[in-house]
Structure formats: structure tokens, C-alpha cells
């Protein structure tokens, strides 16, 4: 199963990088169930599970600060915290693990013990992102299913939802009507924005990758938002031709990393996450520029947009571009920083 997915993505990747809509004749891929949602169908002796935990702790501790010195990866203390979360997701009653003296007790787990060893080995040795290991990412107040082929939503991106919240509170008319999340990935922004808008709003969540679209649909269903979030497959605004000029808002976390930086990324990212969602072309601006033009034609007057960027330099470039090359298209432009103080988002309103 896993190998077929790997080969699928390797076949699709060249297609994606040419930025043409992927044509996929096969049935849509079936999303994986996150570990914490699987039934606790397996049993292990408490002592065996404790032995696994002790082994995993040793593995985590032996990492020290090697990864963080190498490429900014996780250090031991973070890995140990992740290990606790893995236990939380995999074990039906995690508290049992910290009990002593019940040597004979059995514990219900959601994966075979052998798989637990394999999962943690992948985390440490292959630097497989923790979120792929457990099949989910806690993002804002959501728990989103993620898997290989889908970008893991970043904490920074949570801020876009707050920006939308402010925008609709300042202009309640924006709340009622259509919004778009472009390059939705796991569906994170689309789902969170729909929850902010409330019953009167609808979100069109777009992604080029059929794997991402399938995962986004699964997440939409998990939050019972089928009526308010529609997932469409295609490149950026292509699948939205029918609603041109009708959008109240556009949000996106597009690929924005300059191509030359891709190979030096943290191993979790460069080895495991979809390059489609990361590589923004020579200066990382290709998709952002495309989005700015798209937003200008797709938004209603006074419609709102918020885009994530690579940081200070790119935010300024995007702002300059809009002001100079697209004069008169947008107003009330702003650069907003993330919680690390990095100028991360560009927002504005259609004139």
C-alpha cells in the first residue's frame, strides 16, 4: 500500500512541477485513517509496551541536538514530547503505561506492537515527520488527517484564520457568501475559514493534487462541513471559472520557497513533504504573483485576501508588486507578522 503510494507520487511529481492540471484516470486515492481514530484492536502486555517506550525514549535521547545542529530538525526534548503524543494516540488508556507493578496487565493499542517499533524507527532514522507517523496534525482547534503527499499545515498559517476573523468582524457582509482556499492541502484553511464564517458562508477549497483533495474531503467530512466546503481539483483559479468576480475572500498558503533552497531544507520537509506544495520557482514568487492577479479578477469589490509568504523580503516584494504592477487593484494593503516576529502575511481588499 505504502509502496504504491510512493510510486504514485513519484510518477505524478514531474507532472505537478510543470504546473498543469494532473489527469488521473484511476479512482480517487483512499485517505489513510489517522492512528488515533483506528479501533484499539490489538493487545500487548503492559510490560512489552513499557519496554517499547523505554527503547523509544533511548532512541529519542540519543539524538541530542544532532538534528537541530544539522538542519534545524527536532532535538531530544521535542522528540520525547512527540513520543508522549504517540502514546496518547496509539494506546487506548495511556495512563496505564505510567503504572507500575501490574506486570500481567494487557493494554489495548491501535497498532501492532511491531508497527509501533517501525513507526518510531521511521521517525528517528528516516526523519519521517511526526504528523505522518500518527497520521494527523493538531492545528488550531482542529485535528486534521495528513499523509505523504499532503503538506502538513504549519502553526504560522493559523494566523490567516485570525486575519479572516478580523476581516469578517469588521465587515459582516463578507461573512455571507463565497470564499476560496487555494492550494488547500489537508483542507486546513478551508475548514477553519468555514467555521469562522458560520452558516451563511461557503468555501471552495482547491488543490492540484488528487491525494491532497481526497485528504481534504475526508477532513471536511470529519467536521461535517460537506454542505459548506467543496473541494475541487485543479490548478489555482482554473476550477473556479464559474464564480469569477463573486468571491468575498481568497486565502492561500502557496508554495513560496525559492527552488535553490529546496535541497537544504530540514530532512523532515525535503525528504517527505510534497515538493509541489513547497517550491515557488526561482525566487519563490511564481505562485504568489499568479495568486495576486487571480485575486484581482476573482474577488468582488471590497473582497478580502490573505496570503502567506516566505518572510520579510517576500512580503515586501509582493506588496511592491501589487502597488506598482497592479496599481488600483487593491487597497488597505498590510503586512502582518507571525508569532516569531517574521513578516509573514500580505493582506488587502479589492478596490
Amino acid at each position: 500500500m505504502k509502496s504504491s503510494r510512493a510510486s504514485l507520487s513519484s510518477i505524478l511529481q514531474p507532472v505537478f512541477s510543470l504546473r498543469r492540471p494532473a489527469f488521473c484516470s484511476a479512482a480517487p486515492p483512499k485517505p489513510q485513517t489517522p492512528l488515533h481514530l483506528r479501533p484499539p484492536a490489538f493487545r500487548a502486555a503492559l510490560s512489552d509496551l513499557q519496554r517499547w517506550q523505554a527503547w523509544a525514549k533511548t532512541q529519542a535521547s540519543s539524538v541530542g541536538s544532532t538534528f537541530s545542529a544539522l538542519d534545524g530538525g527536532p532535538d531530544s526534548s521535542l522528540l520525547l514530547r512527540e513520543l508522549n503524543w504517540l502514546v496518547e494516540d496509539a494506546v487506548e488508556h495511556p495512563a496505564l503505561l505510567s503504572t507500575e507493578n501490574k506486570v500481567t496487565a494487557e493494554v489495548a493499542i491501535r497498532a501492532q506492537l511491531e508497527e509501533m517499533y517501525e513507526l518510531w524507527r521511521q521517525r528517528i532514522e528516516e526523519r519521517r515527520p511526526f504528523q505522518y507517523v500518527v497520521g494527523c496534525e493538531h492545528w488550531r482547534d482542529l485535528i486534521l488527517s495528513v499523509e505523504e503527499g499532503v503538506l502538513i499545515p504549519r502553526p504560522e498559517t493559523e494566523t490567516i484564520v485570525d486575519l479572516v476573523d478580523h476581516a469578517v468582524k469588521a465587515d459582516e457582509e463578507l461573512r455571507e457568501g463565497l470564499w476560496a482556499d487555494l492550494g488547500t492541502g489537508s483542507g486546513a484553511l478551508g475548514i477553519a475559514v468555514a467555521r469562522i464564517l458560520g452558516g451563511g458562508g461557503r468555501v471552495l477549497a482547491v488543490d492540484l493534487s488528487p491525494v491532497a483533495a481526497a485528504v481534504a474531503r475526508y477532513n471536511v467530512e470529519r467536521y461535517c462541513l460537506e454542505a459548506r466546503v467543496s473541494v475541487r481539483v485543479g490548478s489555482w483559479f482554473d476550477p473556479l471559472k464559474d464564480v469569477e468576480g463573486e468571491l468575498n475572500g481568497v486565502v492561500s498558503n502557496p508554495p513560496y520557497i525559492p527552488s535553490k533552497n529546496i535541497h537544504s531544507l530540514q530532512a523532515e520537509v525535503s525528504r517527505h513533504e510534497p515538493i509541489l506544495a513547497l517550491d515557488g520557482g526561482a525566487d519563490g514568487m511564481d505562485d504568489l504573483i499568479h495568486l495576486c492577479h487571480g485575486a484581482a479578477s476573482m474577488l468582488k469589490p471590497r473582497g478580502f485576501f490573505a496570503f502567506e509568504t516566505n518572510g520579510e523580503i517576500q512580503s515586501k516584494l509582493v506588496l511592491d508588486y501589487i502597488q506598482n504592477e497592479m496599481e488600483g487593484s487593491f487597497c488597505r494593503l498590510e503586512i502582518v507578522s507571525d508569532f516569531a516576529g517574521i513578516q509573514r502575511f500580505v493582506t488587502g481588499y479589492k478596490a
Binding site: H138, P155, G311
Partner: protein
């Protein structure tokens, strides 16, 4: 237990028509009996508590009327008075008799009665009975004002407070009454030579004695916010790895303590030391009276031992300071926090972030700029939740500052637990050259540091709470 006695009483009543007569006469004055011992009442008729209680049903319609509007006022004016046995023995009287209190196993009713009287006395003292009575009067007057409900939130507060005061007083009064019922019963049994009834009553007295011993402890936790959950924060003192290790031992001690008490414990923040231990950590402790107990631990905790981190095996003294912050409920008017007064940062920044990094670390630190108070959270799985959790800590910190500020303004406030300086040394844990844990405030000590470090802290907490509260009352 009551049904048993009730059965016995019914049999007795068949035998003693004279008692029935007195019961019928006196059930009318039941509430006076409960709450008053005015001399006039005492002399009009010999009263029987047992009869009064048992015949309650017969007079229920009358009772209902009695319980109407006049009841609260009646309670407030009469609560100061003491109940007594049929021959006029009161709690004060029992204490004045100086009956010897033997071990619980001794079947001596006087010993039980004396222990119970002492407990009642202590509970009343801890509840500040006299203040409670005057508070009740003030609240009752307030409740009687016709325009009270013009301000519903004020009215709600007054009525809740009133209810709580009445509840406390009724409970203690009921204990007194039960005590005298049992004593009367024992006397009756002796008159009748009914050994079975006597032993039943004696047993009931013992049950009451034990129950009141527990209540004594509960009365220690009568503080306004004692019932709340709380945050416990441990910070390593100066001294590098040794004191960071000590701080993590202290944190571990409280985690175990809380778990033993069946409180829910969750980690909010933990800043590990470079080599071992923690620089600082915060846990949330949720359960009834978590704050009431934990507040006794505020201060500096001192460790003396041969440091495992010293290659020369020298003896080291290190400190860890403990802060306890109540998490106040919705009925408390929280300090208003303006979003614009906050600076929210990722705790561990660095690197370009965004798509460059895949990290599960979404720790957040919030600074309240006007006060400089900060709070952080790192143990949640999303930034949003870390922010919410840090905000909760920040809110509690600011609320606590406000409580202290109010208390300083409030002239009534003398010395209380909130005044304790976080830096003042409250307890020493000595592992070398001898082994002992000693509380400097109460002189309470234990010769087995391991058990204390395993979470057995209750002895220290309770001895401190009773010592400080009882001292407080004497200061009044």
C-alpha cells in the same frame, strides 16, 4: 443508622406515652429547639429532640409555614444560641466539663461527646462563627430590601452568599443537634436498661465523632477560592544543575501528591535544564480544593544533600521556589485583558519558519505589556491551544495580582496566605548528613524524606493550614 434508631424509638414510644405527649407538645417548637436555647423555651416544657425529629411528618404543613420567609431571619437572629440536650447540656458545657477524651475504641460516651464537642468548637472557630452570624444578618437585611432585584447580578451574588452562609450554619447546627439526640438516647436507654439501644447510640456517636474529624479538616478550606483548581509552578533557584535537578524533584513530588489525591494533572510548560532537571515547570491541578491545599506549599523549598553532579562529592544546598495560582471560576469577575496589551511570541523562534520547518513545537509566550506578567505554554499540540493555555495562565496570574491588591486595600485583611513571599524559606529537605524533612513554619517534621518526595505531603499541608488558620483567628 437513623432508620434503626427510628424503629427503636417507635417501640419506646409505645411504652412511654408520657414521652409521646411531650413530643407532641414540643414538635411545635422544633425549630426553636434546633436553633435556640432561650431560657424561656427551656423552662416551658421538657423537650425531646428525638420526639421532635421523629414526629416531623405529623406537622409537615405547619413546618412548611415555618420554613417560609420568616425562617431565614429566624435563623439569623437565633443561630448564635446553642442547642442542648433535654437536661440542658450544651457544647460549651461539655467542653467545660473537661471529660477525658480516650481513643476511639474506648466505648465511653463522654469521651466521644467531648471529642465531638471539641470538633464542633474547632469547626465553628475556623468558620469564624461570630463573623458568620453578623455576615448573615447583613446579608439577610440586604435580601429584604425591596429594590434588591433591580440589580440582578448583585442580587444573585447576595443570594448565593446568603445561601452559602446559611448552608454552613445549618450543617454545624445539625451536628450539634445530632450529638444531643444521641446523648439523650443513651440516657433514655440507661433508664430503660436497654443495652441494645445504648450500644447502638454509642456507635452512632462514634460515627459522628469520625465524621466530624474529617469535617474539621474541611473547615480548614473555607477560604474564598479554596475550592478552585490551580496552577503549581516550580522554579529552580540559583546553583545550576543541582538546583534544576531539585526543582524537577519538587515538581515530581507535587505530581505524585496530586495523583494520590485523584486530582487531574496536566503539564502546561516545562523548560528543561541543560544537563538535568528543569529551570521551570508549570502544571495544572484540577479537582475540588486543589488550590485550598496547594496554597500551603508556596515558598522556597531547601534541599541539603551530597550532589550527584559534584565530582568532589561535596554537600550542596539548593532552593526551588513554588508558586500556586488559583484558577478562578466564571462567577469571579476576572481582570479584563485587552488584546492590544498583549505581545504574543513563539517561544523558541529562530530559522525562517513557515514551510521551511516541520516542527511539532508550537510553544507560545504571552506578555501582558502593562504589568510585564508573562505566561507560556508548550505542551499542547497546536499553537492555537498553546495560546489558549498560556492565556489561561496569564488570566489567573493577573487575577491573583488583583486579589492581592484588593486584599491590601481591604482594611479587614490582616495576615493571610496570599502575603507569603515566594522567596521565604518554608521547608528543608535534608538527605545528608542526617535524613529529615522539616517545615519551618509549623516545626512539623518527618524523618523519611523519600516518602515526602514520593508525594506524601498532606501532613505538612494540613498542619500548616490548621496552624495558620487557628493563628489567624486568634489575631482577630
Amino acid at each position: 443508622m437513623w432508620s434503626l434508631i427510628q424503629k427503636r424509638v417507635c417501640r419506646k414510644i409505645q411504652l412511654h406515652s408520657s414521652i409521646i405527649r411531650s413530643c407532641l407538645l414540643n414538635s411545635v417548637s422544633e425549630h426553636q429547639f434546633y436553633y435556640s436555647s432561650s431560657p424561656a423555651c427551656n423552662h416551658t416544657a421538657p423537650r425531646s429532640a428525638i420526639g421532635a425529629k421523629k414526629f416531623n411528618g405529623l406537622f409537615s404543613s405547619f413546618d412548611a409555614k415555618w420554613r417560609g420567609s420568616s425562617f431565614m431571619r429566624f435563623l439569623s437572629s437565633q443561630a448564635a444560641a446553642e442547642a442542648s440536650t433535654s437536661d440542658g447540656l450544651t457544647v460549651g458545657g461539655i467542653i467545660a466539663n473537661n471529660w477525658v477524651i480516650y481513643d476511639e475504641n474506648e466505648s465511653d460516651w463522654k469521651s466521644h461527646a467531648a471529642a465531638i464537642a471539641q470538633s464542633i468548637h474547632l469547626i465553628k472557630k475556623r468558620l469564624r462563627w461570630k463573623k458568620l452570624i453578623s455576615k448573615l444578618e447583613v446579608l439577610s437585611k440586604e435580601l429584604d430590601k425591596p429594590d434588591l432585584w433591580d440589580g440582578p447580578s448583585h442580587a444573585g451574588k447576595i443570594s448565593r452568599e446568603h445561601g452559602s452562609v446559611v448552608g454552613k450554619m445549618k450543617e454545624v447546627n445539625a451536628f450539634e443537634q445530632e450529638l444531643f439526640e444521641h446523648i439523650d438516647m443513651i440516657k433514655l436507654a440507661r433508664e430503660e436498661n436497654d443495652a441494645e439501644l445504648e450500644s447502638e447510640s454509642l456507635n452512632a456517636l462514634l460515627v459522628l465523632r469520625r465524621h466530624l474529624k474529617e469535617k474539621e479538616l474541611e473547615a480548614l478550606l473555607a477560604g474564598e477560592h479554596d475550592l478552585c483548581p490551580c496552577f503549581i509552578e516550580v522554579q529552580a533557584g540559583a546553583g545550576g544543575t543541582e538546583s534544576m535537578d531539585w526543582a524537577s524533584m519538587v515538581m515530581q513530588m507535587y505530581k505524585r501528591w496530586a495523583e494520590n489525591r485523584h486530582f487531574r494533572v496536566s503539564a502546561v510548560e516545562e523548560i528543561p535544564g541543560e544537563l538535568a532537571g528543569i529551570k521551570r515547570a508549570t502544571i495544572k491541578v484540577d479537582g475540588d480544593y486543589a488550590y485550598g491545599y496547594a496554597k500551603a506549599e508556596v515558598g522556597a523549598h531547601r534541599l541539603v544533600r551530597i550532589s550527584p553532579f559534584d565530582s568532589n562529592k561535596r554537600r550542596h544546598t539548593s532552593f526551588a521556589s513554588v508558586a500556586v495560582i488559583p484558577i478562578l471560576g466564571d462567577d469571579f469577575s476576572h481582570v479584563q485583558i485587552n488584546e492590544s496589551d498583549l505581545r504574543i511570541e513563539r517561544y523558541r523562534s529562530g530559522g525562517p519558519g513557515g514551510q521551511h520547518a516541520n516542527t511539532t513545537d508550537s510553544a507560545v509566550r504571552i506578555t501582558h505589556i502593562p504589568t510585564g506578567v508573562t505566561a507560556s505554554s508548550q505542551n499542547e499540540r497546536s499553537q492555537h491551544q498553546n495560546k489558549a493555555s498560556a492565556m489561561a495562565v496569564l488570566q489567573s496570574r493577573l487575577d491573583q495580582l488583583e486579589i492581592v491588591r484588593q486584599a491590601q486595600i481591604n482594611a479587614e485583611h490582616t495576615q493571610s496566605l496570599t502575603d507569603i513571599n515566594f522567596g521565604s524559606q518554608i521547608r528543608s529537605y535534608v538527605l545528608h548528613p542526617y535524613r529529615m524533612v522539616k517545615d519551618h513554619r509549623t516545626e512539623y517534621e518527618v524523618s523519611d524524606p523519600d516518602s515526602v518526595l514520593q508525594g506524601d505531603v498532606d501532613g505538612f499541608i494540613l498542619s500548616f493550614l490548621s496552624a495558620s488558620l487557628d493563628k489567624d483567628i486568634e489575631d482577630d
